[in-house]
Symmetry: C2
Subunit: 410 residues, 2 copies
């Protein structure tokens, strides 16, 4: 079928024509995409209750328009990444019902009975099973697509089929470069600007460390990554976790996925310092304790499961070399800390922010939180090799999260 | 055209049918491949003198036979790598006359007026312009195919089109794994075996360092490499250098090409310690001085030209970050030293040796040279981060190259 960009009514015809619904069914359809990139349609037969999500990649970035063209192959990559993730981490991604590489459409399971995690975390919802779920997702997707596990021929085919330049470019620019310059794409709280000008942008060492990670992101083809694994890319409740929005998938450095997730959780952890008007000290302490345990558990369970996978079956003989696993896990940890720090930084004054901090209405108070976040991230980035376990990071953040205290270096 | 493996007479028909010669020309043809992998035919019209080289990839490894199948796409990769190298380093590779991806054939310039460098170096031929030529080859092919220079979309296409699993697998096994084990593929001088059993294989730290470089080789997609850049892959005389045999090309870690070349030259340097019966001390000292200058010049000129390329034009903003180039060049150097050491090791007791050492007929004397080579390589590998310039390496080797002395650690 020749490609065309479908509107709501064309979507109804489409899902019937490809056999997902009968021709005589009466369907409602609504465009619900709140992401920046793709069109997302919610389709439902109100009578039977049968619903699904249709995602189409227009030939440009949705939130910008035709002036920012974007390779439509991203929807194939997303669908194939979800399929692969589903194989490796069953039950933790949506089911895919249909994939159409000509129309650049995929149709998947409706998970609207679950909420997006970020929104829920803004109101202190707890996710007691999340650490267990997401550590399985990370340990399995990262280990089973690595050269430790895969035979090198299949691994290289995997690299080839997930070459994803347009979406990688977004990360390359928005995470690793823009925040270290006064770049026009940045989105800067006016009250924060003086700190950036007088302090942050005057530290060439930050730009240098960010550049090392950028080069790693550009060249290190370790494992199939989700590529955008933050709490806005997940549905969840007290029982379930579903990871979605895999359009950034590519074969890249393992630590990026883990660091991006942990960085996002640390942003939420720190953000409460700007919300003492809306939440009591007790509530904040309680939720932070939940987050601290969650973050520690995520990394520790990830590490345990990753090592268990490794010890159970590996392809390359290097997997059995004395000391190699230990060396590998040590590097993975310090890289994770580095990527987490870069993610905390980019969400303060880069193009795309997190609601966690942006919903602090008072500009000055928001600035104070942003400055403290940047200071904490700087310490993590510059000293990442001194930390040996995740409790060192969460402990350091905990000790320094109050706005009215001097930051204490770890 | 459907694929078939051509013999000498079929090659004559082939070159006429594709228009490289007229139908009525009288041609001689001879299979001259002394490599292990492909068929190489020398075709000539004795009357006109017009000659060329036809290379065909049979569906298996030539020196082993059908029991070791090998992806025939290697000949496309070789031809395209040579084209790319020729664009970036004009005059330093053979001209390609014809490429046929169905028949897995490429036809190229006859360079038989030049000899292969390795053979000539065994008789102490000097190559006064080699350092200048090969440093240009390295600086240009490595820089202009890197993420520092290329835009990331084109770079990722380059990665995709040079995915080369079968040939990479050979390197992965033969360089980074087999020599660190008593593997059946190894080719071991019986007199050397006790040293391997009692000393070399008892050092887990060597296996560990080799494993770190193996993982880098597997995952680091930095630049288009030649992939087998030793002095048996080059024609040369006092005026010219031509690099051939690019079938191992893929996008990998830059330092691998540089290290492989330097490791091979160091093998030649050390090997003379086993040839004092055939060459005078004066001859050996003189040739070693030539090699020392050559090796120093290769690295220093490479570095100078690479940095000049970088400073002239770069794509990624990280290229201009204060301190980044310095950091990059430092890592590149220590990785080069590491890869050089691994190459010295694999040529002593791995599957494929160099004539430089293997032509020492006396098994005991050959063993003494091999042991000293392994000791020197070990020191380079384990302490690669302590060296800061190529003169540190050549100086260390020079000081320790005599067989009847204790090795002095750098």
């Amino acid at each position: 079928m020749a490609y065309s960009s479908l509107d709501e009514s064309a979507i109804v015809d489409y899902v019937k024509n490809v056999g997902l619904y009968e021709q005589d069914e009466s369907l409602t359809v609504k465009e619900i995409g709140d992401g920046n990139i793709n069109m997302v349609f919610y389709v439902k037969n109100e009578k039977t209750g049968k619903s699904m999500i249709v995602k189409q990649a227009y030939p440009y970035v949705r939130c910008v328009g035709e002036s920012w063209p974007l390779n439509q192959d991203r929807i194939r990559i997303e669908a194939e990444a979800i399929e692969k993730e589903g194989e490796l981490a069953p039950g933790l991604v949506p089911k895919i019902y249909h994939q159409d590489d000509d129309m650049h459409i995929m149709v998947m399971e409706d998970l609207s009975h679950l909420g997006v995690m970020r929104g829920q975390m803004l109101t202190m919802t707890k996710f007691p099973k999340f650490a267990d779920h997401i550590s399985t997702f990370l340990a399995n997707t990262l280990y089973f697509t690595s050269d430790i596990y895969m035979n090198p021929t299949d691994k290289k085919e995997l690299v080839k089929s997930f070459i994803n330049p347009d979406l990688c470019k977004i990360t390359e620019d928005l995470i690793f470069s823009d925040p270290y310059y006064d770049h026009e794409r940045n989105n800067i709280n006016p009250a924060l600007k003086p700190y950036l000008v007088d302090v942050f942008w005057k530290k060439p060492e930050l730009r240098l460390e960010a550049s090392k990670f950028k080069y790693k992101f550009l060249t290190s083809a370790e494992s199939l990554l989700h590529g955008d694994l933050h709490i806005g890319s997940m549905f969840g409740d007290s029982e379930e976790t579903k990871v979605f929005d895999s359009e950034f998938a590519f074969v890249g450095p393992m630590a990026f996925d883990i660091g991006l997730l942990i960085g996002n959780l640390l942003i939420n952890y720190v953000s409460w310092s700007g919300k003492t008007d809306k939440f009591s000290e007790e509530q904040i302490t309680d939720y932070r304790d939940h987050l601290e345990t969650m973050i520690n558990d995520i990394y520790n369970l990830f590490e345990k499961k990753f090592i268990a996978n490794w010890n159970k079956k590996s392809e390359d003989i290097l997997a059995e070399v004395e000391g190699y696993q230990q060396h590998f896990m040590k590097e993975l940890f310090s890289d994770t800390v580095g990527f987490a720090a870069l993610v905390m930084i980019r969400r303060m004054h880069g193009l795309a922010h997190n609601a966690d901090v942006d919903d602090i209405e008072n500009e000055e108070l928001r600035k104070d939180v942003q400055v403290r976040m940047l200071e904490l991230a700087e310490e993590m980035l510059m000293n990442r090799e001194k930390y040996s376990k995740i409790e060192d990071i969460t402990g350091f953040i905990k000790k320094n999260v109050e706005l009215n205290k001097e930051a204490v270096v770890a």
